[in-house]
Point group: C2
């Protein structure tokens, strides 16, 4: 067993109270939360003890929308108009990607997630076998959202992957999904609706990221993306809608009613000037909310602390209300909401029987002092600087700046630089 | 001498090129930049050599507007309407501050600056003797802006401090200044205009932070703050105007013509919903630009990386142009502009004879890989996680997470918590 003692614990098991407790981990699960009796302590055998010495133990953050392997495009395609960015820079390189490229680029992203206290990603990309291998080799948790586009018969591929990747490994999952309305045929979306019904499963996709996307969709089908997806039965069993920057009141009604998770990506939406999603408003309407970084080509960091901070201040600006979007709610979105959006129902909080996806926050750094209010410190002055440890499924993968992912970080950097240079020349 | 070798150097001495060079430091100054000959190497005696091993050496960032000692209010007064924040929370505690409180609270802020690669602050607060002692004891550089308010005769105090603090210590300076139009009498501002003329010196102050501040000023004096200050001769020798969120075209003309530094504080302006300053527009109009964090009560971090990032994305959103506010320009504002706004003409870049205010950026972290473009990496995915070293005036004050400030960090945290609790009870 692994023992965390002498710390403060933010369980997020119903609220944001910080309490002095112990947490014990057996295998990949939390087996004890509380103040142990002398008898419990006598009976316990600990292979490792973490003396938190006043540091904070809390559930890991989860990144509910990303394209991990796009690390190769970081700082390669910035400060360009969207069309030039996509058509001159992103697409030509993506067309030449090999499975091995994706493997190394995803391993790099996983390192970055760990530095930011992230234990799981909801990822949309290609070369799924190589991507999955990168996660298993690193001991990282991921749920894929299938990024299919184009003609209707590609639904077969989605079904094959759904059956292949779910249940293959405890760290791996896949949700039914497709890229977006503007890259999918009507038939594909219709067929995915059938698949959702067949498996009684949620469907996830990009939705309503830019105003032109919504306007084009209305032109094509007489409906907003949300209304179109709903009319095709895609949301009958829930799902995640990535972005939702531009939504109507009717869209919000559908999202709330269907229990769809809106996954917001404030950094990417700002940098690509897509806008600011009405998250505080959606929250008032009871819509389920989660947070993601989007990919490193558009963000460019994979840093959930920056994401939570930006969400907070952009919503205050949008609402013209300095009290909008309280830190406790944002933490709940990033720890619990993002886990539940991925279907990771046992990764959402610290409680007995839950998966041990945990982080330790260093309180002995100047940005966390003095200690008036820990949730506010985390959102308003916290940063990845404060992440001392990231544990995924009971295994320490990051501790005090060092990675434990079965591969040397410097080798991953070297491989990524090498593969990036080759890809540009290819 | 101290030698930095095997690194990449971003000198910022005219542009943002990154080159393979050595930098040598003698005492508090840079004594060599370039590729040394064998003879130069033979003649040199190094007391310390930093093998950068591919990491980046660059000028330190400077924080051009802050209230350092307000660390005690971090996470104490958030998510409240402005009036309640100020009158119920901030003012009652500030009224009870002792010099010893300010000393410890400022020491905490200095630790945080160092973690974020900051070598100097442009600070506005009270209890200047204690504040100055905190900086000298820590080996940190500061220029104060006098925060006087109220009646006209207080100009004497400003003059006394101007004469006392300038020249007292190489790390300490003070600029003529006052708090803001809304807390100053007309006579005080008039008298400060006289002082500016007497010493041919710049005058600095808060200006045009909120729309109501500007509206009230127009009601009182028939002029915007910028126009009022200019009419009183306050800008005859330049100065710094903190915030400038709400400015008119005529204001911008004055600021450009007088060479006034506009110091922007994007995080504080967003969190307190003051708005987004038109920085990209001011840049096109040739206004001098610098960046600051504002105080930890309103920010709540003292993190120039977060400040640079937020400036970048908020300007893109404001301009509705993803290409707005290039990373190179933001770096120039934070390293050079902020130094020059404080009058630190020899702290602005890496060149022979300049002050050795330097930082080392860790390139071997996942968020900096792969390496396509270093300035873009610094702004779009960089963070204080990447600050390996901060040197102030030739002395290493922060290295690999450790502080070298003549006092144990944990003692500073303990003192700050103790003084904060006492202050609340007092």
């Amino acid at each position: 067993m692994i023992r965390f003692k002498n710390g403060n614990v933010l369980t997020m098991d119903g609220g944001c109270a910080v309490e002095s407790k112990e947490v014990w981990v057996e295998g990949d699960r939390i087996c004890f939360v509380g103040k142990p009796t002398d008898e419990q302590l006598k009976a316990a055998v600990f292979e490792r003890e973490f003396d938190l010495d006043g540091d904070l133990l809390m559930p890991a953050l989860k990144n509910a929308h990303t394209h991990s392997a796009m690390t190769f495009l970081r700082s390669y395609a910035d400060d360009l108009p969207l069309q030039q960015w996509l058509f001159d820079r992103v697409f030509p390189l993506e067309a030449k990607l090999t499975g091995e490229d994706v493997y190394w680029f995803a391993r790099l992203a996983i390192l970055e997630y760990l530095t930011s206290g992230v234990s799981a990603s909801f990822d949309m990309y290609f070369k799924l076998d190589d991507y999955v291998k990168a996660n298993i080799d690193s001991g990282f948790r991921t749920v894929m959202c299938h990024a299919v586009s184009g003609p209707g018969e590609r639904v077969k591929e989605v079904e094959e992957c759904y059956l292949k990747f779910n249940g293959m490994h405890p760290l791996i999952g896949l949700q039914l999904g497709f890229h977006a309305e503007y890259t999918a045929s009507y038939e594909l979306m219709e067929n995915l609706g059938g698949l959702a019904e067949k498996y009684k499963a949620p469907v996830s996709m990009h939705s309503s990221e830019t105003d032109s996307e919504v306007a084009d969709c209305i032109k094509r089908w007489g409906k907003t993306p949300t209304q179109l997806f709903d009319s095709l039965g895609l949301y009958n069993y829930g799902g995640s809608a990535y972005h939702c920057v531009h939504v109507t009141e009717e869209d919000e009604r559908i999202l709330a009613e269907r229990g769809v998770w809106v996954v917001t990506n404030p950094c990417s939406n700002a940098k690509l000037i897509s806008g600011t999603a009405p998250i505080a408003e959606m929250d008032r309407r009871g819509i389920r909310l989660a947070i993601g970084t989007d990919g490193p080509a558009s963000n460019n960091a994979l840093d959930m602390f920056r994401e939570m901070y930006l969400l907070s201040v952009l919503q205050k600006l949008k609402e013209a209300d300095a009290t909008a979007m309280q830190p406790e709610r944002i933490l709940e979105m990033a720890c619990r909401g993002s886990a539940l959006a991925m279907g990771l129902d046992d990764c959402d909080c610290i409680a007995q029987g839950k998966q041990a996806d945990l982080i330790v926050i260093d309180m002995k750094r100047p940005n966390m002092q003095p200690v008036h209010n820990i949730p506010k410190n985390l959102i308003y002055s916290g940063s990845k600087e404060n992440v001392r440890m990231t544990m995924v499924a009971g295994k320490v993968r990051y501790l005090d700046g060092e990675f434990f992912v079965g591969e040397d970080a410097e080798r991953i950097y070297a491989k990524c630089n090498e593969h990036t240079q080759e890809l540009i020349k290819r």
